[in-house]
């Protein structure tokens, strides 16, 4: 009898408050391998708070998070959770004095990915993202979109069961957005679960399997993406 592996992401009643303000209330979500869920909502609806809670960057006020069955807030199992989740934050977090290539080297080392072919894989990924010619550039020498792509490359160079992206298309031009879509679809085909937040419903269309709409920290709507997309557009959500 075989025991199935734990889901890449399970949250139950997840919430976070700042004093009296409830930034997020009762988010219960399960992502299976190869599934993509889009968290959509207006500014201040709790999307980024949800991402930070799931990424292990913000302690929940209530509820639980499990990444591949591990609690990201309880050492030492948190190490296994951090190994399983790759996060792309809404603003690139890069060392100002490390080059693009060095960032990827560091991530590979920090995740124990060192099989002798890592340099080749880094160069291949950078070429695919259009950063090959800028591999030795420092972050300050890059545009906002290129810094965002560097952060994305950091998430893709290492193995992960769950990919979490916070507003990944901000700062990306249309060709880069199309490339990001291809990369996300490829990750899904490889069995990676994807959770992303965005305002841009059209970008998500064709990538997300399900969606969750947040309003003032509460789940206002959820369901399979095509139906949710139609409902959201009908309610007047801008579809870019």
């Amino acid at each position: 009898m075989s025991r199935s592996a734990p889901a890449p992401l399970v949250t139950e009643g997840l919430g976070r408050s700042y004093g009296r303000l409830a930034a997020l209330e009762e988010l219960s979500l399960t992502l299976e391998p190869g599934e993509c869920v889009a968290l959509i909502g207006a500014n201040g609806s709790g999307k980024s708070t949800a991402v930070r809670l799931i990424a292990g960057l913000l302690t929940p006020s209530r509820g639980t998070v499990r990444i591949c069955g591990c609690d990201p807030y309880r050492e030492p199992e948190a190490e296994a959770a951090r190994a399983a989740v790759a996060v792309v934050p809404d603003a690139p977090l890069l060392y100002e004095d490390l080059s693009v290539h060095q960032h990827l080297e560091l991530v590979a080392m920090a995740h124990g990915v060192d099989d002798g072919a890592i340099d080749g894989r880094i160069e291949g990924l950078l070429d695919r993202l259009g950063l090959g010619a800028r591999a030795r550039y420092l972050p300050r020498e890059l545009s906002r979109g290129m810094r965002q792509k560097t952060q994305l490359a950091c998430a893709l160079i290492r193995p992960a069961a769950l990919l979490v992206l916070d507003e990944p298309v901000v700062g990306l031009d249309p060709p880069s957005q199309a490339l990001l879509r291809d990369l996300l679809l490829a990750a899904k085909r490889d069995g990676v679960a994807v959770l992303m937040t965005t305002h841009q419903l059209r970008f998500v269309d064709g990538v997300a399997d399900r969606g969750v709409v947040l309003e003032e920290g509460r789940v206002a709507d959820s369901g399979p993406w095509p139906e949710l997309y139609a409902r959201s557009v009908a309610k007047g959500w801008q579809s870019y």
Binding site: A55, G56, L57, E75, P76, E79, A80, R82, A83, A86, V87, P89, L93, L94, Y95, E96, D97, L98, Q102, H103, E105, L106, V107, A108, M109, A110, H111, G112, V113, D114, D115, A117, I118, R121, L125, Q151, C154, L156, I157, R158, P159, A160, L163, A187, D190, V192
Partner: protein, 123 residues
């Protein structure tokens, strides 16, 4: 997502690699820092020393030091301990948050080296 073999990361090797990879300031930047420090100390020090020594001479006497000295020293120690708790010698940057604290590395091991250096060298 990348495949490939995954080994247990070596925190010490990563910290050494990162220390070597961080670009140290150029000679010009170092000289400028020294120049600015000397200038500020020379001007500010002269003004502060003159004013403070005159003011202190009116207030501080051997008897006052004997009476208030231990209390003031204790308060200073308490202040230093409080500062050490709130803003200790181990500081992580926002990039560290993404790339080191977000990696499957032992956080105790990540903190150990800078903490040891701070205790031994004071920075």
């Amino acid at each position: 997502m990348a495949g490939g073999s995954v080994a247990r990361p070596d925190v010490l090797a990563i910290q050494r690699w990162l220390a070597a990879a961080h670009r140290s300031p150029s000679l010009r930047q170092r000289l400028y820092t020294v120049y600015a420090a000397v200038l500020v100390l020379a001007i500010g020090g002269a003004v502060v020393y003159g004013t403070a020594s005159r003011a202190l001479a009116q207030v501080v006497s051997a008897a006052a030091v004997a009476r208030w000295g231990p209390s003031v020293a204790l308060l200073a120690l308490l202040g230093a301990a409080y500062w050490g708790t709130v803003q200790g010698p181990v500081v992580f940057s926002t990039a560290d948050l993404a790339h080191l604290l977000g990696a499957p590395l032992s956080r105790a091991a990540l903190v150990a080296r800078p903490l040891r250096r701070a205790f031994l060298l004071g920075f």
